[in-house]
C-alpha cells in the first residue's frame, strides 16, 4: 500500500511538471494549430524571472516578505513570458498562420535567439526591456480618451514608447547598481533557493512528501482550474473556442479574431512562464533548461489528442506514472519473483534515460491503435 502510494505520488509529481509545461503548449497548439518550439525558452524566461524576483526580494526593503516571493514570482513570470509571447505572435507567427512547418522553423530560430540573449545580455537589461515593452503596450490603452482627441494617434504612440523606453533604461540601471549579480552577463546556471517553508518534507503514513513537489502540484492544479474556468465560462474564453471551431464564421459574427489570436498566444506563453517557476524550484536554471522539457510536452499533447484539455491532463499523468514505474524499477519491487528474462529486461530499462526510451516506444505503439491520441477531435474530415 505504502509502495503504491509512494509510486503514485512520484508519478503525479513528474506528471504535474509535465502537465504545467504542456498546458500552455496544448492551448497554443490545440486551439491555434501553432507549433511553438520556443515554448521551452518561454519557460526558461519564467525561470529566470523567478530568479530575478527572488534577488529583488532579498533587497533590504522587501526582505520581510521574502517568504512570499514565490507567489509574486508566478505573477511576474506569467507577465514576462506572456509579453514576450505576444511580441512573438505580433512580429512573426501572425505572418505564418496556416503553415505549421514554417512556424516550427521560425520559432526554433526565436528559441536560439532567446537562449543566446540570456547568455550574452545581463539580466538587468533584459528586465528593463521587458518593463519597457509592458509599459509601451499598456500605456496607450490606459490613457484617457481626451488625449486622443487633442493629438494625433501617431504622436501619442511615439510618446508612449519614448516614456516606456526611458522607464526601461531606468529600471535596468537601478537594478544593475542595486544587485551586482544582475549587471553582468553570464552563461552559467543560476540557482533559485526555495523559501524556508518550502524546504523539507511532509510526513503522512510513514511517507515523506517533499514540499516543493506538493507546491508544484498545487500550482498545476490552480493553473488547470484557472484555464478550464477561463475557456468554459469567461466571455473571451468562449470567443477563443468559437474561433477554434470556425474562424471565418466567428469573424462574420463580429469576434475580433486578431485579438483572440493575441490573447490565446499570450495566455499560452504566460502559462509557460508559470511552468518556468515550477521548473526553477526543481533544479538550477540555465539557458538550456527549456529544451529538456519541450519534447516531453509535445509527446503529452500528441498522446492526449490535440485541442483537448482532459486528454492533456490524463496523458501527462500517464506518462509521469509510467516514467516513474519503469525508471525506478518499481515493477521489480511490486513483483519480486518475476521470471529472470523479464526481470533483466526490467532492470535494463530502470534508469531515467532508458525509461524515456521505453515510454516513447509505448507511445508509438499506442499511436498505432489510436493515431489521433486519447481523445481525438470528432468530425467528418478527410484530413485530421
Amino acid at each position: 500500500m505504502q509502495l503504491i502510494l509512494e509510486s503514485l505520488f512520484n508519478g503525479v509529481a513528474i506528471g504535474s511538471v509535465l502537465l504545467i509545461a504542456a498546458l500552455g503548449l496544448a492551448i497554443v497548439f490545440g486551439l491555434m494549430g501553432v507549433i511553438n518550439l520556443a515554448h521551452g525558452e518561454l519557460m526558461m524566461l519564467g525561470a529566470y524571472s523567478t530568479y530575478v524576483t527572488q534577488l529583488i526580494f532579498k533587497l533590504p526593503a522587501l526582505k520581510p516578505f521574502y517568504n512570499a516571493y514565490v507567489i509574486v514570482a508566478i505573477a511576474v513570470a506569467f507577465v514576462v513570458s506572456g509579453i514576450v509571447g505576444i511580441l512573438l505572435e505580433r512580429s512573426i507567427i501572425r505572418r505564418l498562420y496556416g503553415d505549421p512547418l514554417e512556424t516550427l522553423l521560425a520559432t526554433w530560430g526565436v528559441s536560439l535567439i532567446l537562449q543566446q540573449f540570456v547568455r550574452s545580455v545581463p539580466l538587468a537589461y533584459g528586465t528593463g526591456l521587458v518593463v519597457a515593452l509592458l509599459i509601451g503596450m499598456l500605456l496607450p490603452i490606459g490613457l484617457p480618451k481626451k488625449l486622443y482627441e487633442k493629438f494625433s494617434g501617431r504622436i501619442i504612440r511615439l510618446a508612449c514608447w519614448a516614456i516606456s523606453a526611458l522607464l526601461g533604461v531606468l529600471t535596468s540601471n537601478s537594478l544593475s547598481t542595486a544587485i551586482s549579480k544582475l549587471g553582468r552577463a553570464s552563461a552559467r546556471n543560476v540557482d533559485v533557493t526555495a523559501p524556508s517553508w518550502m524546504r523539507g518534507g511532509f510526513d503522512l503514513w510513514n511517507i515523506t512528501f517533499p514540499i516543493t513537489r506538493l507546491v508544484i502540484i498545487v500550482i498545476t492544479l490552480i493553473a488547470v482550474l484557472g484555464v478550464t474556468w477561463f475557456l468554459k465560462k469567461s466571455v473571451w474564453g468562449i470567443r477563443i473556442r468559437a474561433v477554434t471551431q470556425n474562424r471565418s464564421m466567428s469573424d462574420c459574427l463580429g469576434i475580433s479574431t486578431e485579438t483572440v489570436d493575441v490573447l490565446t498566444f499570450g495566455i499560452g506563453s504566460g502559462l509557460a512562464g508559470v511552468a518556468g517557476v515550477a521548473v526553477s524550484l526543481l533544479g538550477s536554471v540555465g539557458p538550456n533548461v527549456g529544451g529538456s522539457y519541450i519534447v516531453g510536452c509535445f509527446m503529452v499533447v500528441v498522446l492526449g489528442g490535440v485541442g483537448n484539455l482532459l486528454g492533456t491532463i490524463i496523458a501527462s499523468f500517464a506518462i509521469g506514472i509510467m516514467t516513474d514505474l519503469i525508471g525506478a524499477g518499481r515493477l521489480l519491487t511490486i513483483w519480486p519473483d518475476m521470471p529472470t528474462p523479464l526481470a533483466s529486461a526490467v532492470d535494463f530499462f530502470a534508469t531515467t534515460s532508458m525509461a524515456r526510451v521505453m515510454v516513447f516506444a509505448l507511445i508509438v505503439i499506442f499511436l498505432q491503435f489510436r493515431p489521433a491520441g486519447l481523445f481525438p477531435q470528432k468530425g467528418r474530415m478527410v484530413e485530421v
Binding site: T103, L104, A106, W108, L112, I113, V295, S353, F360, P371
Partner: protein, 375 residues
Amino acid sequence: MKNLPKSSRWFLLLIWITIIAAIIAAPALLPVFRLNLLGRYLSLAIVALGVDLIWGYAGLLSLGQGIFFTLGGYCAAMYLQLNSSSDLPNGIPEFFALYGVKELPFFWEPFKSPIFTLIAIWLIPALVAGTLGFLVFRNRIKGVYFSILTQAALLVFFNFFNGQQKLINGTNGLKTDVTQLFGQMVGSDSMQRWFFWLTAIIVVIAWFFARWVVRDRFGNVLIGIRDDEPRVRFTGYNPTLFKTIVFGIAGGLAGISGALYTVQSGIVSPQFMTVPFSIEMVIWVAVGGRGTLLGAILGAVAINYAKSLVSEALPASWMFIQGGLFILVVTALPEGVLGWLQSDRPRNLLTRLGVSRPVSTYPSLEAESKQEVKK
C-alpha cells in the same frame, strides 16, 4: 534541369563548374586543417540532400535525421575500432576494459568484415528509417505530428546511446582518429586528403542518385504528396509506400554522410543526435533552396563554412545569426537562395534598377522560327 529555361540552365552549369573547380583546387590551396573542415561540410551536404528529398520534394519535415547520421557514423567507427584492436588484450576495443566487459557484444561481431560494414553504413540507417517511417505513415500521421515524432525519436535514440557504456561506450562515443585503416592512422594528414577526395566523389554520386530519384514518375508522385496527399491517394497511389521509400533513402544518405563525417572529425558520439544539430540540417536546405538538390549541397557547405568562420571571430554571435537565418528564410525567402535566383525576382530587381528585360516568346515559337531560318 530539362524543363528549365535556357538562361537558368547556363546558370546551373556555371555553378557546377565553379563547384568542381573549387573541389579540385581545394587540396592544393587549403592547409590540411581547412581541407578537413571542407571535407566534413561536404559530407554534411549528403545528409542535406536526403533532407531535401523528404522535405523539399515529399513535404516531410523530419527533425530526426541525426539518428540515421549517427547510426552510419557508429557503423564506420565500430569497424575501425575492431580493425585496430586485434593486438589489444581480449582482442576487443580498449574502452571495454573500463567497464569490465570481457567479451565483444554480439552485434559488434559482423562489423569485423569490411564488406558488411560498407553495406551496413547505408542499409542499417535506411532500414531503421523505413521501419520508423512506415509505422508513422501507416497511420496517416503527417505534417507537424510527423516532425514532433521524429524529434521525440531522436531524443530516445540519444538517451539510448548515451546510457549504454557497456555496449558502445555511452556518452564518450567511439574515437576513429587513432584507429588504423590500410596500415595508416585514420587521423593522419594523407588519410584525411584521401577522405576529402572520397567525400567529394560521393557527394557528386549522391547528387546524381537524388536527381535520378526525383526525375521521373517517382519524383512526380512525391511532389504530388507534398502538394495534395489525399488527391494522390484518390488517384490510386499509395502514399505510405512512397513516403516510406523516400524516407528510407534519406536515412541511407544520412548514414553515408555520418560515416564520412565521423572519419573526418575523428569521433562519433551521441552528441550528433542532439536536437539542434538535426534542425540545423533543415536550415541548410531551407537557405540553399528546398526542392533544388544543388541548393541543399550549397546551403550545407556555405552555412557550415560561415559558421566556422563566424564562431572563430565572434563566438557569441553565431546563435543570433543562426536564429535570424531561420526567421529570415521562413518569412522573407521561403524558396531559398537558389530558388530565388531561379525565380523571376532577380530579373525584376534588375528591371527596377534600369536594366531592360529581354523580351521572350514561347520557347516552341522560338524553336520554330530558328528552323525556318535554317530552311
